[in-house]
Symmetry: C2
Subunit: 311 residues, 2 copies
């Protein structure tokens, strides 16, 4: 059975987990709008996440998901928490969720790891993943090398679970393209960042609205953790330091709280403004419901026109 049906979602869309951004309020708004809201744990400890889950349950009676960042020191505690809280779906990032799979699956939780390659997709499916999110390098934040267009069909051919496409999807055309490539659903991040229910600083939203197609760059390309951000002073400085030979202490100092600087303080110079290549397609702030409704009505139109012109 499709996980979208299992969760009884009106629309096959996940809201991508963005650390320090995807909180209870955003997740609840997405779930109320018919998609699946997802709270990003980032580096939250058990207490902090518990608060967020409590808040989200107050704001929606629909299912929502939790994203576990596998490099977090609290991940084991958080796994226990999502089981206690009867969360329906967990996405995972930054690694192989293998060690927690047994526990999560035994509790009946749907586990959907994010994968950047065919090899990792196969590995997580072997260890029990119910679906995979395949994220292209056009996405904002932490990225892999392969693009959505190239990676989605290769993963679809390699595994027998549902594939959710992420990266480069801002409207109904992107949704249709993802389904054409073989995806069963999509995940959007940047598009949800510029919604009324998203709590990031207005400067951050305005920077994305102002951005064009070439406004993003990748910090740390060639290191273990490349990140797509809007070009700014921080990104330039980061890549200058890397070019001089990676100096981990200076990089740590530079990126210390850089996400919070962007999201909470609206510091457009020193903040890490994670954002995808579709930033140029985002022209206004809308509600989550408006975004999703428009995306999927446009999707239907695109499919109809494809059938009319090429059926």
């Amino acid at each position: 059975m499709s996980i979208f049906k299992e969760l009884n979602l009106k629309y096959p869309i996940f809201q991508g987990a963005m650390a320090n951004i995807s909180d209870a309020k955003l997740a609840a708004a997405v779930s109320n709008a018919g998609g699946l809201g997802i709270i990003a744990c980032g580096s939250m400890d058990k207490e902090l996440l518990k608060e967020q889950i409590k808040m989200c349950k107050k704001l929606t009676d629909k299912p929502f998901g939790i994203n576990l960042m596998l490099m977090s020191p609290y991940v084991s505690d958080l796994v226990d928490l999502v089981i206690e809280e009867k969360i329906r779906l967990v996405t995972t990032g930054a690694g192989n969720p293998g060690p927690y799979m047994g526990k999560l699956k035994a509790a009946g939780i749907i586990v959907v790891p994010l994968v950047p390659s065919v090899a990792l997709a196969k590995r997580v499916v072997r260890s029990g993943a119910d679906a995979v999110v395949v994220e292209g390098t056009e996405a904002g934040g932490h990225i892999g090398e392969l693009t959505t267009m190239a990676l989605v069909p290769q993963v679809v051919d390699a595994v027998d679970v549902e594939v959710i496409a992420a990266g480069g999807i801002a409207d109904g055309r992107g949704v249709a393209a993802a389904f054409a490539l073989g995806a069963s659903g999509i995940q959007a991040g940047t598009a949800f960042l510029v919604t009324k229910e998203c709590g990031v600083h207005d400067n951050y939203k305005k920077a994305i609205i102002k951005a064009k197609d070439t406004s993003t760059t990748v910090t740390g390309r060639g290191t273990a953790a490349p990140v797509r951000v809007l070009k700014n002073k921080m990104a330039k400085e980061y890549n200058r330091i890397i070019k001089e030979g990676i100096d981990l202490i200076r990089l740590e100092y530079l990126t210390l709280d850089s996400l919070k600087k962007a999201a909470r303080d609206g510091d457009m110079e020193n903040g890490s403004l994670m954002s995808g290549q579709i930033s140029g397609m985002i022209t206004e702030e809308v509600s989550c419901a408006e975004l999703i409704e428009k995306m999927f009505s446009e999707f239907k139109t695109v499919v109809k026109n494809l059938g009319k012109n090429h059926g």
Copy 2:
């Protein structure tokens, strides 16, 4: 009028220009199969191209195109030649074809520049381009930064000419995705490289057939001419030299004839094995006709299924 109709093509597909690879024989085979074959001039002089055009005209009575590499020292002569030879369509790469536009258009030639960004797309359309090829970073050979998924809709929204999508397209799913994103046609390179009519060395074709999703890398990322190739000794050495600080003389020495080494000699260690991220999807050598027929029959199936499931 659609340029595909104007050329009376059976299928809206261009064969991408690959220097030292896309010759008269390959172009004629693609044109005979219902697409548009394109001869890549690379660094050919007028005499060499004249021979190629003569050969191509012998092999097909269908229209074919010429790709002008704008950094070639012979480009002005080649422009005169394509006019003399009454070539129907010219694609251009590596720059702005502005200076030659007037002459080409006056001769009734359809001009289709390859663009990596919205800004360049707008500029070439202002100077008279009839359509644009939008190529994503997943493509083989010389690449830009933006992916097909992110770039195609942004260019479609920005210009009022037809957009041809390139990069990441190996089968009917990719064709359908490209059309969903707003393209009017597609261009494929890597897929045509592994065809019976393509004259590259067997080792090169076998390397692509053996490749998986993660088998490509980019040489010269961050320089003026990043190139996507299959990972090998040459690519590793190239990027090692760049990391040490770019030494143009050593790079020149390293890449001297590297394309020819790959295409003609089948040197898998020192050759530049340009190839796209869809290399992992190519599993056998077929004829150009088989490739195109399969691609577009699969395209129809994908469109039909989209309509059935989401119409």
